[in-house]
Structures are given as C-alpha cells and as structure tokens.
Amino acid sequence: MDFGFSLSPSSAVNLDRTDMSLYEMLCDREPTARTCIGCGSCSATCTASAISGMSVRKVLLGIQRGQYREVEKMLSHCMLCGKCTMVCPRGVNTRHLILELCRLYGNSEGEL
C-alpha cells in the first residue's frame, strides 16, 4: 500500500556493519594512511577540489565509514599534482595512497 511516504534510509554509520577490509588493505600498502589527523590541509590546497569535491581527508574517512561511492567520485578527479603530500603535517604519502586506493577499488569484497 502506498501511504505517500516510506522509511527513510538511515544516515548513521554502523561500524559493526562497515566493511573495513579496503581500509586495512590500503594501510598495508601505505601505512601512513593511518596517521591522518583530519586537519584538512590536503583538501584546502587540493587543485582538484576547486573543480570537484575532492578531499583526501574525506577519502580516508569515507573508506572507514563505508561511503565507497562518494569516495570513488572524489578519487576520479585527482590530478596527482602532489600539493596534498607537500602540505600534510603528518607526512601521509597521499599520492601513493590515492593510486593504491584506485587500484584496490573493486578488489575488496562487499558493496564496492
């Protein structure tokens, strides 16, 4: 029966049901990925962010929160220019991280 409304999907992230395998695989290949402190320097300086929603911070967070589609969209605008790597206070090798993530996408099980 149509009531003119239906259940709205939950916006909450349930870590019990979030597949972290992609993140773990990424961290195996680029261990500095773990050291992000979410300062946002990368996003602020990003050449691609001006023309898209690219943000390495959000990419890293997104794959820990199961937001694979959004992350994929962001990744597809990166130009690998390396500004994020230069400004990162924690020395996260962002370019390698992005490339490895682009490779790993689709390898991981789950809803990718």
Binding site: M1, F3, G4, F5, S6, L7, S8, S10
Partner: protein, 356 residues
C-alpha cells in the same frame, strides 16, 4: 545489566508526589486516540483509591502542540499555561496533575523559566490579566498522571486481579516501557528515576509482576516529533524513528509496550500497521504486532476491568494475544459493541498485520 546500579540512580531521582487533592488537566488528543485511558485514570484514583481529583470543563489546551510546532510564540504559550494555573487557583488546588506528557513538560518548562526570569512571570501575569482578568498561583507540585499511578502502584498491585505474568508458563511478561520525551529529558529531576533510566513505568510493570526489558534504542523518541508527523512530507522520517525502535526491541520478543504519553502509544501502535503494509514486517508473535498500551489501560487490565470498557478495541495492534497470556477473560463478539450494545462499526482488516 547491573540492576543495583539502576536502583542507585532511582534513589537519586525520587520526586515528592503529594498524596491527594489534585487539579487534573486532560490531554488534547488522548481521548480521541485511546478514550478509555483518562476515564480509567479518574476511575482508579477517585473510585478505587478514593483520591480527590478535580477537573473543570473550562480548561483548554496547554498550547504545547502549537508551541512545539513553532506556530505560537513562547509568551502566548505561557499565558495559556498561566490560565490553567488560574483555573487551578480558582478551584482552590495547589497540585496540578497533567494527563499529557507534553503538557507536563510545558508546565515544568514554564515554571522553571519563571524561576530563572521572574520578570517574564510578571509580564505573563499582566498578559493574563489583560486577556481574561484572571490571577494565579504557581502550583506547588506538578505531576504527571503516571507519577500518581506509580505512587499508588503498590496499592493497585494489592487489589490486582491479574498479573503481568504469562499464565501458561508462569513467566513474567516481557515489557517494553516507553517514556514520553518531554517527561524527564528536559528536567531529569522532574521525572521519577531521572532521564536516563526513568522508572515511572518500569516501576509499575515490576510491581505488577512483569519483567522490564532494556534494549539499545530505549531512549529513542517514538517518532512523533510534532512537525515530523504533522507535515506529511516528513512522515517517512517519523516512521523511520519508530521503525528503529522496533528493530532494536525485536530480539527481546516483548509481550507488550507501555507508554505514558499521548502521542507515543498512537505512533507505536499505528506505525506497526504502516510498517507491515510497506515493509511486510511484523514484530509480534505469529504475524501479530506488539500490543501497545497506556499505563492506565494496563492498570485497568491488572485491576480486572473489561478490556472493551478500557477501549482496547481502539488499538490498531490486536491486544487479544496479551489478554490471552495474562488470562484476562474477554468476549470477542462484544469487541465492537458500544456502551449501548450497538455495533460501533468494524474496521477493515490489514493485509499483513494479523488482527482479531
């Protein structure tokens, strides 16, 4: 779960509830949702317990729905509240008992605001005087009707004809208690048991033989949320909230949900039907829903009143499975007969949710 831990908290949140002489204000909507509830509150307190409960036909809405829907300003809402207080003062009472949780919250909020901002109280007195030439005293005690039933739960238990026990197995019934948000979330000390682990309903349930279950989304809102329901575009959101609660309580297989708010039983009850129609899912046993009762109705059942007199036929989710478990006798054929023994029309049956 460490029960002693909860007891310790309960001991810190016991409010003073005078024994007698109450000025009773009704809810705007409960009588249309569950008409037997308020009637039986008065029946139990006045007739059974012999208390002095005064009510007047002059009282109006407390303004709470409009206030929470952002359609009237705070001063207007307070003036309405002041008028209720004036009626109480005129009737010679000092204790106010509200049937509605939102009213209760509204009264508490008004009194607390006046305590912090006395100049506001003075202004409201002026407004009230200009509007209807009335004066008032702030009530000495404000209680919610469930506070009273909680206070007299022992006496009710003594007079009980039935207990919240599965007659067939002897096991206590598993009871979900749902407290209206405005009961104690705003002022934890105004509610019995505080905001995190209120015991106003669980106290009743346990006193009458039931076992209360504490499930993860216990504190969650029923989903009404005023505008979330009243604005049609938001109803999916309202229902999603209720759905979340059911999903969370489902593994515990509750036998009944009891509530102390006008909106909550309505939404917990009716949304079970909508969820069953849209999602094909039911939460009770054998395709039934989980019966949702107000605390007055539950008290009435415990005291042995006739289920149909209590108005349980007005519930969307069939209450018969609960009655069967408790061993409460009922006449199925009389379910839809009015007081005058005439048919009051039968509702159509849902396609998914099993009803009697």
């Amino acid at each position: 779960m460490i029960y002693q831990g909860k007891q310790k908290i309960w001991s810190e949140y016991q409010k003073e509830i005078p024994d007698d002489h109450w000025f009773y204000v009704r809810s705007c909507i409960r009588q249309s949702f569950f008409p037997g509830a308020e009637k039986h509150f008065l029946k139990i307190t006045r007739d059974l317990l012999g208390k002095d409960i005064y009510e007047t036909e002059h009282h109006t809405t407390c303004g709470g729905i409009a206030y929470h829907c952002d359609t009237i300003p705070q001063e207007t809402a307070m003036t309405i509240v002041a008028r209720q207080f004036a009626l109480m003062t005129e009737a010679g009472y000092e204790n106010l008992v509200a049937s509605c949780i939102t009213s209760f919250g509204n009264y508490c909020e008004t009194i607390e605001t006046w305590r912090e901002f006395p100049e506001l109280e003075a202004r409201i007195r002026e407004h009230l005087w200009k509007a209807c030439r009335r004066e008032f005293k702030v009530p000495k005690y404000v209680a919610h009707a469930s506070d009273l039933i909680y206070k007299f739960r022992g006496e009710i238990a003594e007079k009980a004809k039935f207990h919240l026990v599965n007659k067939a197995t002897g096991e206590p019934l598993r009871i979900v208690e749902h407290i209206g948000c405005h009961y104690s979330k705003m002022f934890p000390h105004k509610g019995v048991g505080g905001a995190e682990y209120p015991c106003v309903l669980s106290g009743m349930a346990e006193a009458w033989g039931g076992e209360v279950i504490d499930y993860p989304e216990r504190r969650h809102c029923c989903g009404f949320g005023f505008r979330q329901y009243l604005v049609r575009a938001n109803r999916g959101y309202s229902m999603s909230n209720t759905h979340k609660k059911f999903e969370s309580m489902e593994p515990y297989h509750p036998d009944v949900i009891i509530t102390n708010c006008p909106g909550c039983p309505f939404f917990l009850d009716r949304w079970q039907y909508v969820i069953s129609e849209t999602e094909g899912k039911t939460y009770g046993q054998n395709g039934y829903g989980i019966p949702v009762l107000t605390y007055e109705e539950l008290a009435g059942l415990v005291l042995g009143y006739d289920p149909w007199d209590l108005g349980l036929q007005m519930h969307q989710v069939a209450v018969e499975p609960l009655l069967d478990k408790m061993g409460v006798p009922y006449e199925p054929s009389k379910k839809y007969l009015g007081l005058d023994e005439k048919e009051i029309m039968k509702p159509g049956l849902p396609t998914v949710l099993k009803c009697c």
